[in-house]
Symmetry: C2
Subunit: 404 residues, 2 copies
């Protein structure tokens, strides 16, 4: 497997584009994205667990219920959520695009991200669709990734190449996500494309299994968004024998998918609103997988731990505290904690109690911008990793006046 | 019932003091508090639910297992938690104090607050106890409340007078709590004294019932501390017939206790680390009490809602979002949301969708420093209130370099 360029256009037959259509009046940036495969694709998706669900999610769920799709359209600047006419607008977006592309409206995946509870005006979208479609190109992934950004500060894309049954397949993705990010889906939109041939059922199985260990283990601020969606389209142009069941081919596909998703998770976490550091909590020695996951998520979500990491302060007591209130059944007296970065590793807690360590060395390690918080529960065989970021002044700044 | 002065010394027979003994080398503030009743008291307490429990909690639990106590000693600057010799130090603190007061060591309630995982040096405590005891006075509540502060910016005390069986009783309390505050106990220490005569069993019943609707409904940052404790001592000097069962007298006592605890909850929330605003989420119309409570807590804990309140931004979508991911079984399409302060009330969401409102008026309301977020679930008869505060730059500042 190797990492390649191209994002969502890396896989054969996918084109993309992103334009500024004017959804936000006071901000000139690309705000409408399109990904398109002329060849029909099998499609899979997962959605937010929030009871408040953006209208686009309801429409997408309906549209891909037959397992197929050809296009993904996404606007930023407005979430089209909690609006009385939300479903109508999302459906209209699909039909306007479908008409221009000459496809069925229910072959469109639709997504939105931005402010909740403000009516989404269809006019800029309607006026933008012609140039959006006309500008589709094999190297449009970057424009698309830019168009789905909200408070994101960097574009997020990745692609990899892998072999299935002697055929070279590609899989790539773009995503956005910066705030309102929390386990079990979050304000993240992830669009993945592949030319691997795989049935809709197995594609959904792969995605549903993968996100449990990837996107559901990312938290920026504990707020689970209303609009999260992860979608994969597979157009089969790589020419491999269709994956229709478990087996070696499926395993290979899962591995490639996981490489893409972990990469995107790390990108989302390190671009968390206001973040200066990517935090990775690596838990080992859990009695069960659930315990390892609960501990990893609790540490990554602790505001006090996050603020300490911002200050490069080796305040490991906050890590232990977060493990203690996680609800996981652990033996505190067995726990070891380490901090690690590319400046080295330092042990700060053994058997649940503090150990002498060099504050100077700890500071040096924690001043880096990728920090691993390593927790060994010493109580079993199960491991888990969660991703997050530090809590900074800029998080507050960004969210104190997001709408204005 | 009327509010009176005196804090923990308002009730007959209680004296208090607070001194600087030098636990933190680099900070000259009072750091050792004492509350004392010469007359034996019935005692009740509740403790953190964190699996990591401060050593003082373990010792206190043991000491008051017989239902009685006479003194409370508390240091700030060091939590005496996650230290190999923690229990030993906490026991030593009790016996040193007991010797000076000429009481039994197991009549002492001991508490600590501050940094986790750094050994607590007994020397400053040992050296401080003589002057701590000698300085006990009828108006020492303020010194005691000052001595238990960590990142608190204001002293927190309250007392009320009430009548039971024709006898005038008093109940008062002091508390500390600013960060690491989350439902189900939090870094809060609350010490309450009363001269009402009540059995240990009924005192515990009153406290355990009260905290479910008060201290367990306060959240500053979602981090449940290792050292939380709420303690009540009742010395019976008011001369009422002892409360030994449910009935009118018990109800009166509960009402007075609740007045004290709600007042302290509001003080803790409004002094949350870095807070500029007290937030109160008032939920009505819940199908069950559990649903109303879950919704109130979820809104109060939402970082995005908290940051929006800091920015006086009427971003009600974040409130709805927090209700949606709370896990409570609600019908989103029935929900109304209002913002209220002493500048008025404004409706921002009806039946789960946005309504037109004056942004100018909303701003005026949200610029106040006590904000009510009013949620009507329109789905039943149950109500609940939770308290919290906004998320500000200063929260990050305070917690980015707490240890240094």
């Amino acid at each position: 497997m190797k990492i390649i360029d191209g994002g969502v256009c890396a896989a054969k037959g996918f084109k993309a584009n992103g334009i500024h259509c004017g959804i936000r009046k006071n901000r000139v940036k690309r705000d409408l994205a399109l990904i398109y495969s002329e060849t029909p694709c099998t499609a899979a998706a997962t959605y937010t667990t929030n009871l408040v669900k953006g209208a686009p999610l309801l429409v997408t769920k309906q549209n891909i219920s037959n397992g197929y799709a050809k296009a993904i359209i996404c606007n930023s600047g407005n979430a089209n959520t909690c609006n009385a006419n939300g479903v109508e607008i999302a459906n209209l977006t699909c039909s306007l695009l479908a008409e221009k592309l000459n496809i069925d409206a229910n072959d469109v995946v639709v997504a939105s991200t931005g402010v909740i509870g403000q009516p989404l005006n269809i006019e800029p979208i309607k006026n933008g669709i012609p140039s959006l479609v006309e500008g589709l190109s094999d190297n449009g992934s970057e424009f698309a990734s830019e168009a789905i950004m909200t408070t994101d500060t960097v574009k997020k894309e990745i692609a990899v190449e892998f072999i299935i049954g002697g055929k070279t397949c590609k899989i790539g993705g773009i995503c956005k996500g910066s705030g309102m990010i929390h386990p079990n889906m979050a304000t993240m939109l992830v669009f993945i494309t592949t030319d691997c041939k795989i049935s809709a059922q197995m594609l959904q199985k792969a995605l549903s299994s993968d996100i449990k260990e990837t996107f559901n283990m990312v938290s920026i601020d504990g707020d689970t968004s209303t609009n999260d969606m992860v979608t994969v389209l597979a157009n089969g142009l790589a020419g491999n024998d269709e994956i229709v069941s478990d087996g070696e081919d499926f395993k290979e596909f899962m591995k490639a998918l996981n490489t893409v998703t972990v990469n995107l998770c790390r990108k989302i976490a390190s671009d968390g609103e206001g973040a200066t550091k990517l935090l990775e909590c690596v838990v080992s020695g859990g009695k069960t997988l659930e315990i390892a996951k609960t501990v990893a998520k609790s540490v990554i979500c602790s505001s006090l731990t996050k603020a300490a990491m911002f200050g490069a302060d080796a305040n490991w007591g906050r890590v232990l505290c977060a493990i203690g209130y996680s609800g996981a059944n652990v033996d505190i007296n067995k726990i070891d904690v380490y901090f690690k970065s590319n400046k080295g590793t330092i042990a700060v807690c053994k058997n649940g109690s503090g150990v002498d360590f060099s504050e100077e060395k700890a500071k040096e390690i924690l001043l880096e911008n990728e920090i691993d918080i390593i927790v060994d529960l010493n109580d079993g065989e199960f491991n888990s990793t969660a991703w997050g970021c530090d809590l900074t002044y800029d998080y507050v700044k960004i969210n104190g006046d997001y709408r204005t």
